[in-house]
């Protein structure tokens, strides 16, 4: 089997965050993949760069989990594109994941920036 999955760790780390970002982006309304990528880049003030290959796989994964749904449509500039939108299940997931993320960042912050104690 000629596959090499040596960067599995990195993908796993990205996965959770990328999924969350996609869901958040789609909360604003249906969008195609390219739009999602652009939107994430723009909203993060170009800090986050989305690997497009991973993005489409993530979209596919979310679709498989029925968190988002997709159908082919036409973009503003008359291009054929696949539009993704959030499902009810996706909304619930977004809420849960967001609160989890907040807890995580708070906990990380507490550890990384302890108040009143020298490192």
């Amino acid at each position: 089997m000629p596959t090499q999955e040596n960067n599995e760790d990195r993908i796993a780390l990205l996965q959770g965050t990328l999924d969350l970002l996609i869901l958040k982006t789609l909360l604003l309304g249906p969008c195609h993949g390219q739009g999602v990528a652009r939107s994430i880049q723009r909203q993060s003030e170009e800090v986050l760069f989305v690997d497009h290959g991973s993005l489409y796989l993530a979209l596919q994964r979310l679709e498989d989990k029925k968190l988002i749904q997709a159908k082919w449509g036409v973009s503003e500039n008359n291009r054929k594109a696949r539009f993704y939108s959030l499902t009810a299940k996706g909304r619930a997931e977004l809420l849960e994941k967001t609160s989890q993320w907040k807890k995580l960042t708070r906990a990380m912050g507490l550890i990384l920036e302890p108040q009143g104690e020298e490192v």
């Binding site: 596959t3 195609h32 993949g33 390219q34 489409y56 796989l57 291009r79 594109a81």
Partner: protein, 887 residues
């Protein structure tokens, strides 16, 4: 889960659309078209990688991979068709033989009777009927008064059901115009309801039907299928049994074939009281039939034990009743006479099979178990050898990036393919073999493999798959990617531990092979002995058939048989014709005490007084070819009006007339009422069966005794004995259109039926012995050939250093001879053990028969030499230069 939602094309389309959109956007930011397209592409990264990842993540992947693995496995098996074929056939034979024997065992020993709650059903048994009674079977049959007494006591056993065949053989039936024969039983009114056998159509019997002796019949599902092609119109039509009409009112549930041991009953009628339908087809004795003769113990009884009552409680509750009823018509027991006891025997299995087939089947199961063990180890060894030979291939694949899991999965899939192919073949083989077994064993009830058998076969296969999966595991894991690069064929596989394991397995196979060969040899010698046993008569050219006409009087019956014999004698190619009451070689015999000179003879040393007797026609011994030692044969001139004459055999003369001339002396029935003069002494000959010992015998002349009924006709003809049957049938039916020829066959075939079990057993044992030999030979050959091919370089070096070819050959042969020696040493004690277990099935050969052991040992030695010959030859023809250069 199984349907892919998106095709890879759709995904590619989405990526293309992404690139367009991105380019559009870049252009709107002021980039020129070409640059925009380029940037979009660069930003995206590798389109191909994304598509590949999409593909790999898709849910069809496992199936894709499976298909690919299967294809690869198929290709790699096809590369070594010899290996694949050997493995599959070995599996098929081993598993198939086991499945077949198991399915017979399942049908015969393990399956329950298809009745409601079979665990509460018990056969009634007795120790010994009182003196002065006549019995069919000394422990299994009862008189009508006993039946009547027991069924009226409903405390312990309710109901008590009686059943009795209408004939010891088959009974004449007619449906429409053509006379046929069938197996029929007379049964209690509670037969179907009490056993809990459902009727698939119509109704069963009631107690009122039994009281009325109603002319109604229920046929078996099997008979309905076989004879009436499941025509529903058969209900309400008339079945003639011994020319008496019975209306068919029901068809029994599928799978229920009655309670007769080892037989399949075609129809049942309520207990009758007509002389034409006496139990066992016997002629009435002094006008009495089974219901009116209290001293004839002829009914089989089965009862359903009441809930909550133990077997012991039931026996003690019924014993007083039973012992009283046992003496009805006999007066009170004599001084010191032990009254008969009552017993109950579980009835949940199929009747009679356990006694007849239990032991041989268990032994066969053990034998095929050995065969299976050999087969499985064989395939495992073949697989190990093959995969060891492929170790460098594995290393190469590991080095090229295959995961260990991929390798392992590949090996498992290959084993699974072998097991699946072998399993399918095995199942087909088992079905055919089961049929053959049933035909040989003459088991008439259906033997179709059921779920139990399927589960049995599948569990063996799973075991095999696991074994075969684990065998290559070690080898696959032992192969590292570096191996391919650094080692050569000469050194990559010299693993002492592994070859020791293979040697142990071969030695084990040799052991099992010795045991199987000894077992098979003993049984085959038994069969030889049986077949070569002199019968004491000239059996070739004899043909026999039964007729069961109805007579109003004894003279009419005698006249019928006289006419029949003279008409048959007139047929072309017929040499002589006679009649007999009991057919020779049918297992049946009439045993009783006889008076000598008017009183029961004293027998020295407490020997048996029992005499076996038969009723026969004129020219009986001449027809059979039994030498008359003194006096004469019966003749046409011996009639009802001439003095009563009898003939005895040597044993009779020896026991009851020691050192005297028996001619002219008087002998008679046990009660002394019928007396006859001894006019002849004939040589001892086989009467009931081939494997019986000599026993005193006496013959009555049929035309002189006061009973006449069913007889068997024995004809000596020139040419093919069976060719006379059509014209004989014509003669019989001209005399009475209701008559069928009952069980027509050659007398030799009739005798051989008495050793059919032994024939079957010996043939099967021989077959399995042969199978074991072939399997062991292939296994040994495979192992040795593999070892020689592994040692090519080593042998090359040896020869280069001056080893002679003979030395190399001896080196290989010594290996296999050593293994054989180990196997033989381990096998002989085991074979002695098996021989002991077989001893009751042997005839004329001791369990420690030296010839058999010698043959078995030389057999495995020969196999070992034959299997080593080719590898040894190959080793000897190795060209040292070539062998060394190859590395």
């Amino acid at each position: 889960m199984f349907r892919r939602k998106r095709s890879a094309e759709d995904f590619a389309e989405e990526i293309r659309s992404h690139l367009e959109l991105e380019a559009d956007e870049l252009r709107s930011e002021g980039m020129d078209q070409e640059e925009a397209h380029r940037r979009a592409r660069v930003d995206f990264g590798s389109v191909r990688a994304a598509r590949e990842r999409f593909y790999m993540k898709s849910r069809w992947q496992w199936l894709d991979r499976l298909v690919r693995d299967l294809r690869f496995g198929f290709r790699s098996l096809r590369q070594s068709p010899g290996f694949a074929l050997t493995a599959i056939l070995t599996l098929a034979l081993g598993v198939g033989a086991n499945t077949a024997v198991f399915s017979v065992m399942n049908a015969v020993l393990l399956r329950s009777l298809p009745v409601a709650d079979p665990h509460r059903l018990f056969y009634l048994r007795t120790s010994n009927p009182p003196r002065g009674t006549g019995t069919i079977d000394t422990t299994q049959t009862f008189s009508y008064p006993v039946y009547d007494a027991l069924r009226n006591d409903k405390r312990a056993l309710s109901p008590v059901i009686a059943y009795v065949p209408l004939s010891g053989n088959k009974v004449a039936v007619r449906y429409g115009a053509q006379p046929e024969e069938g197996e029929g039983d007379m049964v209690s009114g509670t037969f179907f309801s009490g056993l809990g056998v459902k009727l698939s159509r119509g109704r069963g019997f009631t107690e009122q039907d039994e009281k009325d002796h109603a002319p109604i019949a229920v046929i078996s599902y099997n008979y309905w299928t076989r004879r009436f092609a499941r025509n529903p119109d058969v209900l309400g039509s008339t079945l003639y049994v011994n020319a008496i009409g019975f209306t068919i009112i029901g068809i029994a549930a599928e799978g229920f074939e009655g309670l007769e041991p080892g037989a399949s009953t075609d129809f049942w009628i309520p207990l009758q009281n007509r002389p034409e339908l006496n139990a066992w087809g016997n002629a009435p004795e002094d006008g009495k039939i089974y219901t009116t003769n209290p001293t004839w113990w002829c009914l089989r009884l089965i009862g359903r034990i009441a809930p909550g009552v133990s077997r012991q409680q039931a026996v003690s509750a019924l014993t007083p009743l039973f012992q009283r009823a046992a003496y009805v018509g006999l007066g009170s027991p004599m001084e010191g006479e032990k009254p008969p006891t009552l017993g109950l025997e579980e009835a949940k299995g199929f009747p009679g099979y356990s006694e007849r087939f239990g032991k041989p089947l268990r032994l066969l199961m053990a034998m095929v178990g050995f065969v299976l063990l050999i087969a499985l180890t064989n395939v495992a060894m073949l697989l190990m050898a093959r995969n060891a030979a492929r170790q460098r291939e594995f290393s190469m694949r590991l080095a090229l990036g295959a995961g260990r899991r991929d390798l392992l999965r590949q090996l498992l899939i290959e084993s699974l393919m072998l097991v699946a192919a072998g399993g399918v073949l095995a199942w087909l083989f088992a079905i055919a073999a089961t049929r053959a077994l049933a035909a040989w064993a003459q088991i008439e009830s259906s033997l179709a493999p059921d779920e139990t058998v399927l589960i049995f076969a599948l569990s063996i296969l799973v075991l095999a798959a696991l074994l075969f999966g684990l065998a290559p595991l070690r080898i696959a894991l032992a192969a590292g990617p570096a191996l391919a690069l650094k080692s050569s064929a000469a050194t990559s596989n010299v693993d002492a531990g592994k070859s020791r394991a293979a040697k142990a397995i071969v030695a084990l196979q040799m052991t099992l092979c010795v045991v199987l060969l000894v077992g098979a040899g003993l049984l085959i010698r038994t069969l030889r002995n049986l077949e070569n046993t002199p019968l004491g008569l000239h059996v070739d050219g004899l043909v026999v058939f039964g007729v069961k006409p109805e007579f109003k009087s004894v003279p009419q019956g005698i006249a019928f048989y006289q006419e029949l014999m003279s008409k048959l004698r007139a047929l072309p190619a017929v040499e002589s014709v006679t009649v007999m009451g009991e057919r020779l070689g049918s297992w049946w015999s009439n045993n009783s005490d006889m008076t000598v000179d008017g009183r029961l003879p004293d027998v020295p040393n407490g020997g048996s007084r029992t005499v076996r007797s038969n009723v026969v026609g004129p020219g009986f011994f001449t027809t059979l070819g039994v030498p008359v030692l003194a006096g004469r044969d019966f003749a046409d001139s011996d009639t009802a009006n001439s003095p009563h004459v009898g003939i005895i055999n040597e044993q009779f003369a020896k026991r009851f007339f020691p050192n005297q001339n028996p001619l002219g002396r008087m002998i008679g029935t046990g009660d002394g009422r019928y007396q006859m003069t001894v006019v002849g002494v004939v040589k001892d000959h086989k009467y009931r069966s081939i494997d019986e010992g000599p026993i005193p015998m006496a013959w009555y002349m049929y035309a002189q005794i006061p009973i006449v009924g069913k007889m068997d006709v024995e004809m000596r003809v020139h040419g093919d004995p069976l060719a006379i049957l059509p014209s004989a049938r014509k003669v019989v039916q001209q005399m009475d259109p209701n008559l069928a020829l009952i069980k027509p066959m050659t007398q030799r075939a009739q005798y051989e039926l008495t050793i059919s079990n032994q024939i079957l057993f010996a043939r099967l044992a021989g077959f399995f012995g042969l199978l074991a030999v072939v399997l062991v030979a292939t296994g040994l050959y495979g192992t040795l050939a593999y070892r020689v091919s592994r040692r090519t370089a080593e042998i090359g070096v040896r020869m280069a250093l001056g080893a002679a070819r003979a030395q190399v050959v001896w080196m290989i042969l010594r290996d296999s001879l050593l293994l054989t020696a180990f196997g033989v040493v381990a096998g002989i004690p085991l074979a002695i053990f098996v021989g002991r277990a077989l001893s009751s099935s042997l005839y004329g050969v001791r369990p420690l028969d030296l010839v058999t052991y010698a043959l078995a040992i030389s057999g495995v030695t020969l196999v070992a030499l034959a299997a080593s010959a080719a590898p040894a030859g190959r080793a000897a023809s190795i060209d040292p230069q070539k062998a060394l250069r190859e590395e």
